[in-house]
Point group: C2
Chain length 311, copies 2
Amino acid sequence: MSAALPQVFPHAGLPARVTVYEVGARDGLQNEKATVPTAVKAQFIDRLAEAGATVVEATSFVHPKWVPQLADAEDLFTGLRRRDGVRYPVLVPNPRGYERALACGAREIAVFASATETFARRNLNTSVEGALAEIEAVVARARAAGLWVRGYVSMCFGDPWQGPVDPAAVAAVVERLLSAGCQEISLGDTIGTATPGHVRALIDTLGSRGVDPARLAVHFHDTYGQALANTLAALLAGITTVDASAGGLGGCPFAKSATGNLATEDLVWMLDGLGVYTGIDLPALVETSRWMAGHLGRPAPSRAVQALTKD
Amino acid sequence: MSAALPQVFPHAGLPARVTVYEVGARDGLQNEKATVPTAVKAQFIDRLAEAGATVVEATSFVHPKWVPQLADAEDLFTGLRRRDGVRYPVLVPNPRGYERALACGAREIAVFASATETFARRNLNTSVEGALAEIEAVVARARAAGLWVRGYVSMCFGDPWQGPVDPAAVAAVVERLLSAGCQEISLGDTIGTATPGHVRALIDTLGSRGVDPARLAVHFHDTYGQALANTLAALLAGITTVDASAGGLGGCPFAKSATGNLATEDLVWMLDGLGVYTGIDLPALVETSRWMAGHLGRPAPSRAVQALTKD
């Protein structure tokens, strides 16, 4: 067998390089049933960085009552080995989470908004506006303290309760987050229903309102098998930052049918084949996901990991 | 939950309609371990047609020694209910298979070539040239008898033994098949290693040599998770016929790591979302794949089927 790496054939209209924003340690592990020892998480994050990931979201300073898998956020984050050139953002779901992250020395944070009222009410226990007001206060403090801030927007392409989501409504939330001071916005297809034209429409809508695609990231779930096709559409629309989860770990515990983030390996296989630089060493990443799968007691959902494991 | 169908957002550069060439009953079932009763296969095919599939590859007239799962080809094919407007091609791997198909009244057949010497030797027990010579004889007889003929080309994007495959070598085989009289050529990524630029490069190479994309189909396996992204690239390159397998059944018993055809449901989800007409009713198709999965004793690999089953 000699199919360990894809042949390289560029495609018109794509960027020369893509930043992979690795969410496996946070979005992945928070949705796995097993609780992983802190030392294993730390090693997972360090192996991801060693494999070439330049942004590794490390954990979430969420209340342990909601996500017990990440109750060790302080211990994990303060004990992390920091590699040069690698960023380790953490999710802060509320002002208390921000205080905890700041106390641990976090320099990059991510906040979390909803594009839809139903998800805001059910997941955040507030309204879209209520969430934004709280976020604006956190972002103002974070920026004043010199932190880098990403804003996640959930349910940008569909909502499990209300159904369709209007790109204009998403754009309004994105603009609020940018005005608040977020340096990057991640557009989340939390339930995985998006298709490539929808992705293009949202990015173009944002572009027509003056939002530079360089400030946007995409965050796809593979619930309906669309994640990589949507990523291709996003790259063709000018996006250069893509969220992905090593091994395809994760999902969303609050949204029914939200299974599986885009697997980093499937993404890197595509980007390697397209000649788009990521800096990630695919075999090292696969080995890391296989090792993590051993700790989780189940195979990695990533198809590329499965295929490369058979060889 | 109201996410049963995607929102519709067209994407520039795509066709208004796509013909889904359904291979689940042949390429799918021939690679499933379980042998399915003939009556169940017949019902599967009829349910696929009832769900809106207009081309349903029914079986293969291969020697039962090689594919015992399809040893009932005669009984199945002669007993099939034929719906108006639906084509039921059958695979004929050699002259003996052609005789058997013709004796059963087949009016559409598919022949099978390899783009690589190693696959020709290991799978077909001949050379690329030897396979083509035999195919030319079969196609000549079939066309003289008024049959419609498709030519499959395996290993168009990678070969498990030799590795890289040159698009020019694939083009040479495609041209031979077209010259022989094949009306349609299916470009097979048998081991699933292709990425979107490679797909574009092959279609463009063929176009530069005068091959109309309207005469081409693409046949992707999801081994590395690339199948749907590759399909999007193929559609953007002018392809309008896509092979897919209901539920994602199948693989290739001769090629290591060749797991899973592109799932028809994942494809139809994307095309429905893009507003590209297929004629296929997604809920009916999902129901058919769930029913078939029950007979096979394992869940359908299709992510869309899994997501829609949870609802």
